[in-house]
């Protein structure tokens, strides 16, 4: 008998009574030796004999008691499951794992789905069980991770496509050699003239024919057999897709390829089997087997390259998703246990060792360490996390050891939200896609109609043998048309563009936001928190005598104050390691300052206005007071008894990168303006420092939205940059709202664009990327349209009356494969994007 311990998450418990019910239900289950249920963590810990009962029984017991045992499921692809004689062994091996409730394998899809108790069993266990039954995973399992599954599916697609392509390529090569044996002797001059490749290979064909003097009928039969697997196996997907589309009254790429190659093959087959019928009609009994095989092979090659390139377009999101660590060191009752990060719940304590990835969003409860957040924010400098600081899951703990209390887990975590947001953006559409969409919806049926029309026209008016020309035109039109290039033009560029933005800590809501951002001409910047740090700090101390003493006295009084100005003074003193004295009789002089007794001396820290009102002589400080006020700085006077001891100027410092950001924006031709609720003087001071000439000061939060509207009414397209909370109405009113974040809170709701990092240069990166992405989309759409607009008439033979040229179907299919590949490759050039300052 072996004892197994299982922690079972339970949903739906609200009271101690519920705990008893669940506990009882579990305890009476056969084989259970002990069960304890915790209401706070909503988990049951059960010890049981796994010979007598299983996780499934326990979950059932909980369910029967009226609660839900939380279960989760994972699907993963298993190689060659399709060909396995039986999947029962595999299913049983998986079901035997502790914590697994049910496992089912689907041979058709080659996917296995396992229901299990989260945290009880790890993906490594599944992998082992699969391996032990003699199967191999198609890709690593990542529990309930659609991205991972997509990657696995893509890898499989690439493998299958390569196999199909190889078979196609070999058969095509053989078929080409074979058709050379038919050259000149039995092929009509007209058809020969069409065959571009045949002409190129002419010098080889002669000796080849001399070496193998075979009867044409035999060669044709052999060709039919050699190319059959290309159509029925390599190209099977086109025929299956076309058929299932046909049943649903939809026509797509598959339809075009299937009809095109099917027509070429059947025509050839007729010429092979009943050549008499052709000769009676005065037609050469030519075959086009090699064309049918080459078309399919070339299109497979295009798809193969495309699948590889497409895998790269979503690399950014894969990288983000990969940041999620799998394992966390959880501390419970003084014991450190390694658990799956996914099984953590809010409130859990976790230890993060130096060099490890932080497994969850959490608050530091112990330790201090620099943390590298560059993967999320793009900020290269590590940020030191101390007691009470928030750390983000996925970032890397550098040198110290940290203990965190988990705050947000699973899908609530910052990383998960970023991934979701980026995924959503990548799946969204840019309005520019609208035209391509409208075209795509009628594209294929119209192309089929055009192909038939081309056939009829060649048949009626073309030179003899009309049927040959007509068939070639039909096949060429069908295979050259490429709705895929139209369909891929926008999504691939969006995928790369938004992914690249995420790498720089910029989250773009979707295609529409991106398109709008590329058209904005006016940028309105909020002052506090956007251009400035958003935290007041001491910028200047003007003492009558000793500087440090002024700061010490002021900070000693202010340490009891809750006012942000007081906080700034205390922080300044701490930063200079100035030791504070104790304070007695602390009083807040509402709106004027504070008072307290330090070293038996009454000390006041008051506003300049109040000092003047009290007629406190500033003496030599007077000139400085005037200067500071004129510069828009908040100035307080430190008074000991009735004598002014010094001035402390406090202001919100401008971020180091703001000036550069404004310069870059101006360089790009933007009209840059600043909006602030502060006084004109302080707003003007900041504006001058960063190089903005248009200032809207003393504007209330509600007035900011009105200001945006005013600007819009003048015909401007406005991007508003501000923090997501106070400026929400203005962000929503603007054509593009850009929220500037502080790392953890992603104020995504009101904004179209979120800068995770506080660096205003993110706006420049966002704008540059938006413009690049949009121009890539426009190029893609242009080429996709031009390609089809030119390609289809040429394939139909429009150049024939003028130049005597008719496109070979093989060339047409190569052009088609290239056109959709080129769109994907063009989108991939976006990956090379670098910010203007080359970071």
């Amino acid at each position: 008998m072996s004892k197994t311990r299982l922690v079972l998450p339970i949903e739906g418990m609200h009271c101690a009574g519920c705990v008893d019910t669940v506990q009882h239900a579990l305890a009476v289950t056969r084989g259970v030796s002990s069960a304890s249920v915790n209401l706070a963590t909503e988990k049951a810990t059960v010890e049981f004999d796994d010979a007598l009962t299983s996780a499934a029984d326990l979950v059932k017991a909980v369910r029967d008691a009226g609660y839900r045992g939380d279960t989760t499921s994972v699907s993963f692809a298993v190689e060659d499951l399709h060909y396995a004689a039986s999947v029962t062994g595999l299913e049983q091996a998986l079901a035997r794992l502790p914590g697994v409730i049910h496992a089912s394998a689907n041979q058709a899809t080659e996917f296995v789905t396992v229901d299990y108790v989260p945290g009880a069993v790890a993906s490594a266990d599944f992998e082992r069980a699969v391996g032990e039954t003699g199967f191999r995973l198609a890709a690593p399992i990542d529990a309930a991770d659609p991205l991972e599954r997509e990657r696995a599916a893509r890898a499989r697609e690439i493998r299958v496509l390569s196999q199909k392509f190889t078979v196609g390529a070999i058969a095509t090569a053989l078929a080409m050699i074979g058709s050379m044996l038919l050259e000149t002797a039995h092929r009509s001059d007209v058809a020969h003239g069409l065959d571009f490749l045949g002409r190129l290979l002419m010098p080889v064909a002669e000796p080849l024919r001399a070496a193998f003097p075979l009867a044409p009928a035999w060669v044709k039969g052999a060709l039919a057999l050699i190319t059959l697997p290309v159509l029925t196996w390599s190209g099977r997907q086109f025929f299956v897709g076309a058929w299932s589309g046909f049943r649903h009254r939809t026509a797509d790429m598959n339809t075009l390829i299937a009809v095109g190659t099917g027509a070429a093959y059947l025509y050839s087959l007729a010429a092979t089997l009943v050549p008499g019928m052709f000769s009676r009609a005065g037609l050469p009994a030519d075959v086009y087997y090699e064309a049918a095989a080459a078309i399919i092979t070339l299109i497979l090659l295009g798809r193969l390259l495309e699948a590889r390139a497409k895998g790269r377009t979503s690399e950014a999101i894969h990288r983000l998703a990969a940041l999620r660590p799998q394992i966390a060191h959880r501390v419970r009752a003084g014991q450190i246990v390694d658990v799956e990060a996914a099984s953590l719940t809010p409130g859990d304590l976790v230890v993060v060792k130096p060099g490890e990835r932080i497994p969850v969003d959490g608050v530091v409860t112990e330790g201090q360490s620099p943390v590298d957040e560059s993967m999320l924010t793009g900020e290269p400098m590590p940020v030191t996390k101390r007691l009470g600081d928030e750390a983000i899951g996925g970032t890397v703990n550098a040198t110290g050891s940290l203990t965190l209390r988990a705050t947000r887990v699973g899908n609530d975590s910052t990383l998960a939200q970023i991934v979701q947001l980026v995924e959503h953006a990548q799946a969204s559409k840019a309005p520019i896609q609208g035209l391509a969409d409208r075209v795509a919806s009628v594209f294929v049926p119209v192309v089929i109609a055009l192909a038939i029309a081309a056939f009829v026209i060649w048949f009626d008016f073309g030179p003899a043998p009309a049927l040959v020309f007509a068939t070639v035109a039909l096949v060429s039109v069908l295979v050259i048309a490429c709705p895929c290039a139209l369909g891929l033009a926008t999504p691939t560029a969006l995928l790369v563009g938004t992914g690249k933005a995420a790498e720089h800590g910029i989250l773009i809501r979707g295609g529409e936001a991106l398109e709008m951002l590329s058209r904005v001409r006016t940028v309105l910047l909020d002052k506090t928190g956007t251009l400035t740090e958003g935290r007041p700090s001491v910028t200047e101390i003007v003492p009558v005598a000793a500087r440090d003493e002024v700061l010490r006295l002021a900070a000693s009084v202010e340490q009891r104050s809750e006012h942000p100005l007081g906080g700034a003074i205390v922080a300044a003193a701490r930063a200079e390691d100035i030791e504070l004295r104790s304070v007695d009789g602390f009083t807040v002089l509402e709106g004027r300052g504070v008072r307290g007794t330090v070293d038996r001396q009454v000390i006041e820290v008051v506003s300049l206005a109040y000092a003047r009102e009290r007629k406190i002589a500033l003496g030599p400080l007077d000139a400085d007071a005037e200067r500071l006020a004129a510069a828009g700085k908040t100035t307080v006077v430190v008074v000991a008894g009735t004598a002014a001891r010094g001035l402390i100027a406090i202001s919100d410092p401008v971020k180091s990168t703001s000036r550069q950001a404004v310069a870059y924006l101006k360089e790009r031709g933007f009209e840059v303006a600043m909006v602030s609720g502060d006084s004109r003087a302080s707003a003007a001071a900041v504006a001058q420092e960063v190089g903005i000439d248009r200032v809207h000061a003393e504007i209330l939060p509600s007035g900011k939205a009105a200001l945006v509207r005013e600007l819009q009414q003048d015909g401007r397209r406005v991007a508003m940059v501000g923090d997501g909370i106070n400026d929400a109405p203005a962000l929503a009113q603007a054509d593009v709202g850009i929220a500037i974040g502080s790392g953890t809170d992603i104020a995504v709701e009101a904004s179209d664009v979120t800068l995770i990092r506080g660096d205003l240069r993110g706006v420049v990166v966002a704008v540059d990327l938006a413009r690049r992405t949009m121009s890539t989309i426009r190029q893609n759409l242009f080429w996709a349209f031009i390609y089809n607009i030119l390609g289809i008439p040429i394939a139909a033979g429009i150049l024939y009356p003028v130049l005597g040229v008719l496109l070979s179907p093989v060339i047409a299919s190569a052009a088609m494969a290239w056109s959709s590949l080129s769109v994907v490759l063009n989108s991939l050039t976006l990956r090379r994007f670098k910010p203007a300052w080359g970071a």
Binding site: E157, S428, K429, S441, G487
Partner: protein
């Protein structure tokens, strides 16, 4: 014009007309949504198209459409009901639920992300009740 040419021309024109009609204007057999717990529910299989592709529901009542995507083809990756503002991803080999309240009587087209596959939600006026 030879007889062959006349025949080919006639068949060709007929084929063009038929292709355009079949792919662009014809529609599948409509399927009535089954009512379960006051919700009109329909299961739709997504594979090269939507089966069924014409779904009949009653106005003003909740609708639950269960899309099972039985393929990995990129085309059917998303389901879009433009008029209802719905745009959802359909993971392959999974069932994705789309829920909304049926709008006023009329026709609500739905389609894939690339506008290649199409379906139609036919909203009928709700019958007077009780």
């Amino acid at each position: 014009m030879t007889v062959a040419q006349v025949i080919v021309t006639a068949v060709g024109v007929a084929a063009i007309a038929w292709v355009l009609w079949y792919f662009l204007f014809s529609r599948g057999r409509p399927v009535m949504a089954a009512l379960a717990d006051g919700v009109q529910e329909v299961h739709v299989t997504v594979k090269g198209g939507y089966t069924p592709d014409t779904i009949v529901v009653q106005a003003g009542r909740p609708v639950r459409l269960q899309f099972y995507r039985d393929e990995t083809d990129d085309c059917s990756e998303r389901i879009v009901f433009e008029r209802l503002g719905i745009d959802k991803a359909l993971p392959a080999f999974q069932t994705t639920t789309v829920e909304f309240t049926a709008p006023a009587a009329g026709e609500v087209p739905f389609r894939c992300g690339m506008n290649m596959l199409k379906g139609m939600l036919v909203v009928e006026p709700a019958p007077a009740r009780e």
